[in-house]
Symmetry: C2
Subunit: 469 residues, 2 copies
Amino acid sequence: MPLEWSSSPPELLLAVDRTSSRPLRTQLEHGLRDAIRTRRLAVGERLPSSRELARTLGLSRGLVQECYAQLQAEGYLVTRPGSATRVAAGAAPSPGAARTHTAAPRLVADFRWGVPDLGSFPVQDWLWATREATRSMPTTDFDYGDPRGSAVLREVLAGYLRRVRAAAPDPEHIVVCNGYAQGLGLTLRVLAHGGVRTVAFEDPGSPATIRTAATAAGLRAVPVPVDEHGIDVRALAATGARAVVVTPAHQWPTGVALAPERRLALIEWAGDRDAILIEDDYDAEFRYDREPVGSLQGLAPDRVISLGTVSKSLAPALRIGWMICPPDLAEPLTGQKHRSDRGTPTLDQLALAGLIESGRFDRHLRRVRATYAARRAALLAALAEHAPALPVTGLAAGFHAVAHLPAGADEHHIVTAARERSIGLYGMSACRASGSATPAQLVLGFGNVGERDIREGIAAIGDLLVNGS
Amino acid sequence: MPLEWSSSPPELLLAVDRTSSRPLRTQLEHGLRDAIRTRRLAVGERLPSSRELARTLGLSRGLVQECYAQLQAEGYLVTRPGSATRVAAGAAPSPGAARTHTAAPRLVADFRWGVPDLGSFPVQDWLWATREATRSMPTTDFDYGDPRGSAVLREVLAGYLRRVRAAAPDPEHIVVCNGYAQGLGLTLRVLAHGGVRTVAFEDPGSPATIRTAATAAGLRAVPVPVDEHGIDVRALAATGARAVVVTPAHQWPTGVALAPERRLALIEWAGDRDAILIEDDYDAEFRYDREPVGSLQGLAPDRVISLGTVSKSLAPALRIGWMICPPDLAEPLTGQKHRSDRGTPTLDQLALAGLIESGRFDRHLRRVRATYAARRAALLAALAEHAPALPVTGLAAGFHAVAHLPAGADEHHIVTAARERSIGLYGMSACRASGSATPAQLVLGFGNVGERDIREGIAAIGDLLVNGS
């Protein structure tokens, strides 16, 4: 960022005690010296002009000038013609140990999952939407707001989710939050207060995230197996859990869609047990070769808390998500959100609302969908060339795939060997509740890897994939 | 916000089953009708063009046109020449009960505390800083970031807080958070995990906020009296607490600065008890007729968690704050922040960094400081005219004052009577741990009240203040 000082100087903490017998100039000199020695004023830092400092402290300008001149003579300050007075290099003792940040070596291709194409973030659209938001928002919107989030955004989200996700959201029962992780954390706390003791989660899935959030909420987390039709509802029933986190539209990470009969069984289970379905609707916007799968929330609005996020559709750095709440959980979830941080930043919420309302969000989605489709094709082509027999599944939607390594393959070895060739690979073991690396599989994220890097990356590790070691 | 559709239409969830024996056109018609009946498509909502929908679903454009025509004939859709096809008014059943939002009646003057001048928010500077941030930030900054917050902002905050607050922050030990409430919540959780059982707080102070946060963290909260020198450290020691929330620079709400000997006693207490001082440095930027009081953190960086926020200096709606952590608490606090929401929005952080670095933040502070000084003068003048004998204290800094009502005055009655005259007054009782309304005092916030409103507001209630009823 260009460090452009405006015409105004920084504030400066310097106390002058008028009741003291010490001369004001001595006090000011000592104060400045101390501030430099103790590094409250860092090397190179700009001081206010003598005029400004004199005004701030109620001293004469001449006194401040004398003081600056003295400290300059002593080597604490430097002044260059036409430039501000600054703290001199070497004026302060050097800090204990210089910190060295060893940056991770740059990878040729990093198949890390869960990251969208960061270079596609619609910067200009976002700036436009932010500017428009400031134009139309009333001054009172700069105050603390409704902890549920901006009514404008909740209205817009409800319309969007009705249309695109076949959800049945009531804007009054949407709570905007700072992404999925916060939504999950708030949800589990509310369920714990409501008497839930155990939350189930899909296996494979996100064991670490869910276990951490469950522990923080005082809940036990139990895994439930996923097969080619999605979560095993009979196994779920056997756990005694009264809540479950599911990814029905596109199971994470296997990529299967929850089969229609399983959807119904899941909802029936929730009704029978007075249980809550926590729907993680993480990347539903991206589908390629199948019909869209509607949100579970639209089928059972009283039983489902649907968690959405822009981390996959726009960027994780925005930290915006939402919870579509069953009517009787909207109030406790709002309370949790309020206690947690009072609400999500308003301007960001209004910008997102404007982005969706203006059609720019849809346009962005269409654009990145094409990008992901091309990367997906590049990945399949590269695998077909360099590891032709390797089964790859879960590619109907999203921006990751599961590669099934040959029997006897060693996931950890392959990941390590690939890293030595500057290729980032990630094993399925991190997604398994047991942490097991068998059967050996890789979860290949291609959201943030260019087509050329995909080709080069797969070419560089084809032998590892083929040989399984 | 102007609802300007870009050239691209919205996405639309409509599944077509090619394996079904039902004709595709029938399926599409039923799908659309259902979507309208169930309000997934709301009245007035725009449909994609027939071309677009045909492409999305892989159907012929003619089929979609026929389908639209049919639904138009049935009254579900309307088309106007040169305009998109939309859902017709009256197409869907009306929702259960129309919600009525009864807005609070507009007050002539609202002396609510804790709100800065919302109209002064430097909108253009903020937009400038956001734009600059997008120009200079690397693409990787759109990813999940360091849960402590942007390294750029932490560096800039450290310099700013060193300079202005005489703090001694290490950027490595700053954790950016979403305002004071989140900072307090995360802090109390970490202390609870560390074995702290009781947190003390100033009385008067913010009993509701602290009790709520303490309960959520599993801590007991105990009040400690405040006198004209600040918190009573001897009384604090008697509580057995191992943490205390204090407002040393400008006690909330009495306005006293913690006396130097009390500061030292507090730090000594913390050392003796292995206790933590939680410094709420909420409005330190605003001072009028006294020397600035440095942050407690600068005196005892190993014992103090200093919580800062831009809610008073810029606007609550930004939801940006920070924690300056003792070195050994930086890691657990970072972990709590990560579990809570992964991090604070990056673009907002970079915008704040740019605002401070460019000097625009200081310039803004100088501007609003003048505004508050004028409002403070207007308040004092109005009180001198309409309630000449009323003692007013706590005016050295910030943007609120404490008015001491005559002996026997009834706080609740005065607040209610003022409200009937459309004047918002707030009693001290809410700030007392006991909730007591004796002695009767008002906390008069003037941050977000214009000078004219201050004059009119005080004129309208002068008799209540004088008579105490």
